[in-house]
């Protein structure tokens, strides 16, 4: 039975990776889009980002060096990712439950890293009673319940908010509730596993070490196996839901909201303009579907309302 559980974890990880890659590749394969930036743009330099200004505030901006600040952009992203600043500013009540939920998830990611490190150290021959492993175990013992607990409380709060707020309930589908219940179950099982059989996450490190070297030892606890399978199922499921925003948010911010790169004789942009203007749209409205005009360039250069020059030829 435990072999099946191991197999499921492999399948789950593969599905997760494929799901993420598929979505990112699909996005990146889209053609160039029009600029659609929204201010404040975080990387604007010269103190402009603070009040929402941008480089277009300069006369002859195309002749001037762009002042940008990657540090500021990083700081804004950091605040947005780790503190969900937009929610804090615009939807404080939801932030009270969303923030612990997400903070718990970030701690879990950290915990997974730590567990992977511990598993690697074990495989490298480090003794389980060494000082470093004791530190790993000690940290895990403290962080695990906080992480699982925060996410559990957050998911519970989000569920109650969605059920209790008629405005949110109107826009909630079965999937919203399923997702939150799934997280409640996963975090509940993880907390129970920690409390009852794996306080230091030693079992988790052993499982991962076995996972890496294909040594499928049966863990001592069926509760632990349930936790592993549930966790991997959740991981595999995320890229196929709106929760994909955890990685797609990067593109939504960097590639759309803050994508303000102007085309000042940029060969790469001009090449892409050449490509998209040769696309063949199939819109049917009479002002677009012009016989003989196939590409965007043909259609855009055609004036469906043009009059003979007579009216516009009058002397000045």
């Amino acid at each position: 039975m435990h072999q099946l559980a191991y197999a499921l974890t492999y399948v789950g990880i593969v599905i997760f990776v494929v799901g993420v890659v598929r979505r990112v590749v699909a996005y990146k394969n889209n053609p160039m889009h029009l600029r659609w930036e929204l201010y404040p743009v975080a990387h604007e330099g010269g103190g402009r980002a603070a009040y929402g200004g941008g480089y277009l505030e300069e006369v002859d901006w195309w002749n001037k060096p762009r002042e940008t600040s990657r540090v500021r952009e990083f700081l804004v992203m950091f605040q947005e990712i780790f503190f969900i600043k937009a929610l804090w500013e615009h939807n404080r009540f939801l932030w009270l439950v969303s923030f612990p939920f997400h903070l718990g998830l970030y701690l879990i990611i950290g915990l997974v890293m730590l567990t992977l490190f511990g598993a690697g150290a074990l495989l490298a021959g480090m003794q389980a009673d060494s000082g470093l492993m004791a530190l790993v175990a000690g940290t895990s013992t403290i962080v695990a319940p906080i992480a699982f607990g925060l996410s559990l409380l957050g998911a519970l709060g989000l569920l109650l908010r969605r059920l209790g707020d008629s405005e949110l309930r109107k826009y909630s589908s079965f999937e919203h509730y399923f997702n939150l219940v799934l997280f409640i179950v996963v975090m509940g099982v993880a907390l129970a596993t920690w409390a009852s059989v794996d306080r230091t996450l030693e079992m988790a490190r052993g499982f991962i070490a076995g996972w890496v070297v294909l040594d499928f030892k049966a863990p001592d606890s069926s509760l632990f196996m349930l936790q592993a399978v549930l966790a991997v199922f959740t991981l595999a499921y995320i890229p196929f839901t709106h929760m994909s925003h955890f990685f797609m948010k990067y593109f939504l911010y960097h590639d759309i909201r803050w994508e303000d790169k102007p085309n000042v004789n940029a060969p790469e942009i001009n090449k892409q303009i050449g490509e998209v203007l040769n696309y063949e749209p199939t819109w049917s409205a009479s002002h677009i579907a012009i016989p003989g005009k196939k590409t965007w360039a043909d259609i855009a250069l055609f004036n469906p309302a043009a009059e003979p020059e007579e009216d516009n030829k009058t002397e000045k």
Binding site: G53, W62, L87, E167, Y171, M248, A300
Partner: protein, 543 residues
């Protein structure tokens, strides 16, 4: 509203749900005067319920959403016509997700479809949702979620879409109401600004408008036939031909030279000039003082500049940005061609927000290499002129309370915020900000094309609902000098916003009640010029 029965009724008409969108009812919802967001102070501004639309309009067009009819969707007369409406809409929606047909916005649209968490954070950012007293129809998520559910179920055909994303009834009523709903949004994108994920539910409004225009051939006449098509035909949505526009500007030159005591001449078609200035031609007809002010300032600053009389070269409007990508591209190409024909070094836009964005930002990835003439806003240039010392000013001439409306296209969508402030801080001793302002401003209520619509009861809707938040902001900005004794000035440096604020002032009789007037930014600059006779701003004539 103290009667519980009445309260329940009011609540019902506001609380529509997605499940109602295809309902067989004459009208889905309504906005009553009693529902509206209260205005500051205890002045009764006399808001009234909407009168029912005339039967002739209802017979002709599908007026089944609320009290207003913007998009003229022909009323289907048979089952076959009903089905055709639905099928055509679905065809258009499929094309929105096809890179050949919609490369322009595909990335934004797909990410908005897939990543929205339905957290409702965007709702309170919407001035329409707030102003309407939280009528569900105006919630940004209401419109976008109907669209999203149709997409997932009928276009993407996502397995278990009904459970995953929620169900929606799709029939001709759904399509007709969704089309109208796309015109209950100013596409100001304030909702998108607040989204923690980066989703843009305002974009959905524009994409729905595109389906109707680009696929179904159903458009708003003020934007299409009398807007972008008229501009492509004669050069301007005002209907002014080359000869008419030159005559009009010559008349403005003569008239204002005499009135201001400052002799100036607006140059036309100067080959090799540094700057091609493109105005919104609506200014020439409605606000000639704005045209004169630009000419006076540019001449006084000694700039090398010109206007163009080429097709569309004298009207910077690009109504395509409100509803149609192809019309956007066609108009942008004409503007750039006009600049190329004159061999100017750059294009500068007059006070017109959407024109700023259309040619500077949107067209940045439409114009082919030969037409990529540099383009910039008038505001940084005006700021540099005002601060340069080339022109002498007397700020005391502007010593009256002034506030400034930030056009969304210029501020939130282009990040041009400080230059206007540098000017008013130097020239207007009693300047005060609206709250919020800059990138976080509220739309005037005329955005995305509404400012040019006054058909039927659209003006009432624009003033009572769409412009209500702006109205509140204006009243709050002048909190310390309310009433008819102190003259007050709203600077609205955008032609469409200015038109909307003009209508707000007229609708609520604010000239009489508040001694409020409005105009652009350049009028304030010229009003403070020492070389110009005092009194460029005319408090009595501004309507």
């Amino acid at each position: 509203m103290n009667d519980p029965k009445q309260s329940d009724t009011a609540k019902d008409h506001k609380q529509v749900s997605i499940g109602d969108i295809g309902k067989n009812s004459e009208q889905l919802t309504t906005v009553k005067a009693d529902d509206l967001m209260p205005l500051p102070g205890d002045v009764d501004f006399g808001d009234k319920d909407f009168e029912p639309l005339p039967d002739s309009t209802k017979e002709k067009y599908a007026c089944i959403l609320d009290d207003v009819n913007v998009l003229q969707i022909p009323m289907p007369k048979s089952r076959a016509e009903e089905e055709a409406l639905v099928n055509k809409f679905l065809d258009g929606m499929r094309k929105l997700f096809d890179k050949q047909s919609n490369w322009t916005f595909l990335s934004m649209l797909e990410t908005t479809m897939e990543n929205c968490a339905k957290c409702n954070t965007c709702s309170d950012a919407c001035h329409l949702f707030q102003a309407s007293g939280h009528n569900e129809m105006y919630r940004p998520l209401f419109r976008s979620e109907i669209f999203r559910r149709i997409y997932k179920k009928y276009v993407k055909k996502e397995p278990f879409a009904r459970w995953r994303s929620g169900d929606v009834e799709l029939n001709w009523r759904t399509v007709a109401r969704l089309g109208e709903l796309a015109y209950r949004c100013n596409v100001c994108r304030r909702c998108a600004q607040t989204c923690p994920i980066g989703v843009d539910n305002a974009l959905i409004s524009r994409e729905i408008r595109k389906i109707f225009s680009q696929e179904m051939g159903i458009t708003v006449p003020e934007l299409h036939e009398r807007g972008s098509m008229l501009q492509l035909k004669v050069g301007s949505s005002t209907g002014m031909t080359k000869k008419a526009v030159i005559d009009a500007v010559e008349f403005i030159d003569e008239d204002f030279s005499e009135e201001t005591g400052y002799k100036f001449k607006t140059p036309w078609d100067v080959k090799g000039a540094d700057i091609l200035l493109i105005h919104n031609a609506g200014e020439i007809l409605s606000w000639p003082d704005n045209i004169a002010a630009f000419s006076i300032i540019f001449q006084a600053a000694g700039l090398s500049w010109t206007l163009s009389s080429d097709l569309a070269g004298y009207d910077n409007i690009n109504y395509g940005v409100f509803y149609d990508d192809v019309q956007t591209a066609r108009t942008a190409l004409l503007h750039a061609q006009a600049a190329k024909n004159l061999g100017v070094k750059k294009i500068v836009f007059g006070e017109c927000g959407h024109a700023h964005k259309a040619l500077t930002v949107i067209a940045d990835r439409i114009l082919p290499p030969g037409l990529q003439i540099p383009r910039e806003s008038c505001f940084p240039l005006l700021r540099d002129i005002v601060l340069s010392g080339k022109i002498k000013f007397d700020p005391e001439r502007n010593n009256f309370p002034v506030t400034m409306h930030d056009p969304c296209n210029v501020t939130r969508l282009m990040g041009i915020i400080k230059p206007q402030r540098d000017i008013v801080h130097k020239l207007c001793p009693q300047f005060r900000e609206m709250n919020p302002h800059g990138a976080h401003n509220y739309c005037c209520g005329g955005g995305s094309g509404f400012a040019v619509m006054s058909r039927s009861n659209i003006t009432q809707w624009r003033c009572m609902v769409a412009g209500r938040k702006k109205f509140e902001q204006i009243l709050n900005a002048f909190e310390d000098c309310r009433g008819p004794d102190v003259p007050k000035y709203v600077a609205a440096p955008c032609s469409n916003c200015k038109g909307q604020i003009r209508d707000l002032i007229a609708y609520y009789e604010l000239r009489e009640k508040e001694k409020l007037t409005y105009a652009g930014l350049v009028e304030l600059i010229v009003n403070a010029m020492v070389d110009v006779k005092p009194g460029f701003i005319k408090w009595e004539d501004a309507m």
